[in-house]
């Protein structure tokens, strides 16, 4: 297990555990409060499994009023709270703290209203992303953001992390696809932001909450927009002999005014891994494989694929295969969607990174990753949401080897630093969490971070809601870099903690 500096444990809170647990049982059914080791163990980590930590207790409220009362109590008693959706987050945003209550939203699992007239669904936050689409598909509608974990991830978690997915190039991320939320502030105040109307007046609190990683409030209801299925969807598999050719093709497609519904790129390592795993029929002679998906009307899709074929040929493509039917289209995607398990079959562990670069820097970053792979002597497979410059390098390693884990983390950090240097961002859709917290100083200076912390403190003045996430735990950016804790000793014990 990896170690990282976490906010100092408040021993007085830990010593009052029994009292706190009894108090929590006043606010919700006692079966919803878990405090025994075997009960709370499943909550010790999220999908960033390298980090584990036990919470003081777990509470699983059933309605907004209960959430409000629990938060009010925790606020009064200075107890930290870690909100958690389905626990599929990849940046450690739901990592518990020993002196904190883990607030699980798993019981908020109902869709409350399907409103076809206003093209929206009102849902509780624990409902999974995919079940929203399932609830409306009989009338030809769907919910657009489709993170790869959509089968399991909750919509509340999607709001917290502003999740994207394969189709965000055309349809945007969560922030562009929600209309309103109900939220409980740390002091227990319940507020409704937005509703079934487009936009809101005044400060865009919905935009602020979306992607705030559970630091500003606990989402208890979400209103999402639903879209009508496109008339036709087709995909093409295009192989390229070099990274440069594939990268240039991505830029040229966009420059020609084409906005594909999705545009993915996989490198040789990932093509090999996924082909072995699912036999998707990928061309094995390609160094780079592109999946381009278009949707719209029949004539439009056909015309644009003609243009894309020409652009690909100009960029020396060595294969071009257009899906003939829905089965074949899904087959094209099967390899890409199996990227994670395929990498899992190649090495004991893999570490999924998430950064963004300007599209034009695609071949540059791939070369840099390849250089770093040699430097750290670790294998890497690359999958990109190329259309919006979002890369997911998968670093292959053996977690039982501590030294290899250390190298993996440094490798990952160097990739993200390179993204920032090239004009991109530290995270495209996984969030900062604890994973990239100390790297925030690569992208922001003290004033930028202070402004963000000021917002946090204005809405949660005691810093009780999900503390230790997103912002560097060492206050000054001068102290950048990943912080390791050795035998529980912090590196700079006298610095103020946030």
């Amino acid at each position: 297990m990896s170690e990282i500096a976490l906010p100092k444990v408040d021993r007085t809170i830990v010593s009052k555990k029994d009292l706190i647990v009894n108090n929590l049982k006043q606010f919700t059914h006692k079966k919803n409060v878990l405090s025994e080791l075997d009960e709370i163990r499943p909550y010790e980590t999220d999908a960033l499994a390298a980090y584990k930590n036990l919470p003081l207790a777990v509470v699983l409220p059933e309605n907004t009023q209960e959430v409000s009362e629990i938060l009010k109590f925790c606020h009064r008693e200075n107890i930290k709270v870690i909100p958690r959706g389905a626990g599929t987050g990849l940046s450690g945003g739901a990592l518990p703290l020993n002196d904190a209550i883990l607030l699980g939203l798993g019981k908020f699992n109902k869709i409350l209203d399907i409103d076809f007239y206003n093209k929206c669904v009102v849902t509780q936050p624990g409902v999974t992303n995919l079940s929203i689409t399932h609830a409306v598909k009989h009338k030809g509608y769907y919910y657009a953001p489709d993170p790869s974990s959509q089968l399991a991830c909750s919509i509340g978690g999607n709001v917290a992390e502003n999740s994207g997915g394969v189709h965000s190039l055309k349809y945007g991320t969560t922030t562009n696809n929600i209309l309103g939320v109900e939220m409980v502030m740390m002091d227990g105040t319940i507020c409704r932001i937005g509703g079934k109307t487009l936009d809101q007046e005044g400060y865009d609190l919905l935009g602020l909450i979306c992607g705030s990683e559970g630091l500003l409030g606990v989402i208890t209801e979400v209103t999402v927009k639903i879209l009508k299925n496109p008339q036709i969807v087709k995909a093409a598999l295009i192989g390229f002999p070099t990274i440069e050719d594939g990268g240039n093709c991505v830029t040229d497609i966009i420059s020609n005014g084409i906005t594909p519904a999705g545009m993915e790129i996989m490198d040789k390592a990932l093509i090999d891994a996924t082909e072995k795993f699912v036999h998707a029929g990928y061309p094995m002679d390609a160094e780079v494989l592109m999946i381009v998906e278009l949707d719209g009307t029949k004539s439009e899709v056909e015309e644009l694929f003609k243009q894309i074929k020409q652009i690909a040929e100009k960029n020396k493509s060595n294969s071009f295969k257009l899906s003939k039917n829905e089965k074949e289209r899904l087959g094209f995607w099967s390899g890409r969607k199996a990227a994670f398990p395929a990498c899992g079959a190649m090495a004991p562990d893999y570490y999924c990174m998430d950064g963004t670069i300007p599209r034009g820097k695609l071949s540059e970053i791939l070369k840099e990753i390849s250089r770093l792979s040699k430097k750290y002597n670790l294998g890497v497979a690359n999958g990109f949401h190329a259309g919006d410059g979002n890369l997911h390098p998968l670093i292959l390693f053996d977690g039982s080897n501590k030294e290899e884990l250390r190298r993996t983390e440094e490798f990952g950090a160097e990739i993200l630093k390179a993204c920032v240097r090239m004009g991109g961002a530290l995270s495209g859709e996984h969030g900062i969490g604890i994973e990239k917290r100390e790297l925030m100083c690569e992208a922001f200076n003290d004033s930028d971070i202070q402004q963000q912390i000021n917002i946090k403190m204005s809405l949660d003045e005691k810093n009780l809601l999900n503390p230790g996430k997103v912002y560097p735990i060492l206050r000054k950016c001068a102290e950048e870099g990943r912080v390791h804790v050795h035998k529980g000793e912090e590196k700079f014990p006298d610095l103020p903690r946030f």
């Binding site: 093209k119 109307t197 963004t356 004033s447």
Partner: protein, 423 residues
């Protein structure tokens, strides 16, 4: 540095109209304002100055001289500009590469003084008013990739960047959109741009029955034909309180100016447009109605008139901007009848309503709120009574907004009272 600070301090003392030309100057002037606790009126070219309450501040910070394109990368689909850059100039630059701001910034120039004026990039972001494509592509806030600016203490801050996918810290770009200059003085904004569609057509349906119009809006929203605009323009009221404008504004060969009409726009290449019109004709059973078709040139003019509110050109009456869920459009139409001049945009969601100064504005506002909407009083008549709030806000949201305001501008110096009386 000392000399520079001293110079800025002197400029601050000597002039009430501050017109900085660099980000650093903006920061120095605001630091000076912070030290001296001077409220400041932050603005661009004043094209939307009349929206919101009047700001009571001795000093004005004019950002219109801080203008120009910093970086434009057509292939990366963004343009980074200084806040004083005119939207018109940005659109001209994008046009050369067949690109555009697809959120269609609302042009308030006609409303103010009878001619086009889209104002500056900073003003456009600060007000967050998107045009007819809103229901299809998003609002201004969905197109802000990042910004730089100066907060109320004089610190230069930034958020976001140039890439679309970005979850690194709170998305302050959204928060700044629509904040009317009360949180930061913008010094740089990065806008996401889109490819311009090669052609467009607009179908006009001559119809006025509220139920039918509401059904047509619903069909637009339910269609997979990617309709990118849908409006309803009713008959103008006969009352002398309204200056007749409709026949002048929509003077197009293929548009019959008599009576009410519903209009929707399809954009794309010509084959795709033809294919979709055919499909929509079946979906909406268009043969039931009297219709006409505006070609690319007329269609372009038509939507420009809509997005510049020319129907209300130079009105002396109150103008309200209301947004309701589309399912409430029928209720709203039944209420508005022929008493007020209005038109509906965003396929049944956005209502622009002209209310004469002597009419009961509260009744209109209450109806909007009862229909789950919100309303902004955009233009105020001479006899407007300030007992009516200009923005809709509930107590909880006001409380949260106040806290956020304080986190950016602890001394409450930026555009005090512009949005809400309290701060």
């Amino acid at each position: 540095m000392f000399t520079k600070e001293k110079k800025n301090s002197q400029i601050f003392q000597d002039s009430n109209h501050l017109s900085p030309t660099s980000e650093l100057e903006v920061a120095e002037l605001i630091k000076e304002a912070y030290r001296k606790k001077f409220p400041i009126d932050i603005h661009g070219s004043n094209s939307k100055k009349f929206i919101g309450y009047n700001v009571q501040a001795a000093k004005s910070l004019d950002l219109s001289s801080l203008s120009g394109v910093i970086e434009y990368l057509p292939e990366e689909l963004y343009i980074k500009v200084k806040p004083g850059t005119q939207i018109k100039d940005i659109e001209n630059i994008l046009e050369k590469n067949n690109q555009e701001l697809s959120f269609e910034p609302t042009d308030f120039g006609y409303l103010k003084d009878g001619k086009s004026n889209k104002g500056t990039a900073g003003g456009c972001v600060s007000c967050n008013f998107a045009g007819s494509r809103r229901f299809k592509v998003g609002s201004v806030r969905d197109f802000i990739l990042g910004f730089r600016g100066v907060n109320g203490k004089g610190d230069i801050i930034k958020s976001g960047g140039t890439v679309v996918k970005n979850v690194t810290g709170y998305d302050l770009s959204k928060l700044v959109s629509g904040s009317f200059g009360t949180l930061v003085a913008l010094t740089e904004v990065t806008l996401k741009i889109s490819a311009k569609k090669p052609s467009q057509n607009t179908i006009i349906i001559y119809e006025k029955d509220p139920k039918t119009i509401s059904d047509l809006f619903n069909m637009v929203l339910s269609s997979s034909n990617e309709i990118s605009g849908a409006v309803f323009v009713p008959d103008e009221p006969k009352s002398k309180k309204f200056i007749p404008n409709k026949s002048k504004v929509f003077k197009l060969n293929d548009l019959n100016q008599e009576g009410a009409f519903f209009a929707f726009r399809i954009e794309g290449d010509q084959n795709s447009i033809k294919e979709r019109i055919k499909d929509i004709s079946n979906e909406m059973d268009l043969k039931k109605y009297k219709t006409s078709n505006l070609d690319i040139y007329q269609s372009d003019l038509f939507w420009k008139s809509i997005n510049s509110l020319q129907l209300f050109s130079e009105t002396k009456n109150n103008l309200l901007r209301a947004v309701v869920p589309p399912s409430k459009s029928e209720n709203m139409m039944s209420f508005l009848k022929n008493k007020y001049r209005y038109f509906i945009d965003w396929s049944g969601s956005l209502f622009w309503i002209e209310v004469p100064g002597d009419e009961n504005i509260r009744e209109v506002k209450n109806t909007i709120i009862q229909n789950d909407g919100y309303v902004t009083i955009i233009k105020k008549s001479e006899d407007f009574e300030f007992t009516e709030k200009l923005f809709t806000v509930d107590d909880t949201k006001l409380m949260i907004s106040k806290k956020i305001k304080e986190s950016f501008d602890p001394r409450g110096l930026f555009n005090p009272g512009k949005m809400y009386k309290d701060f």
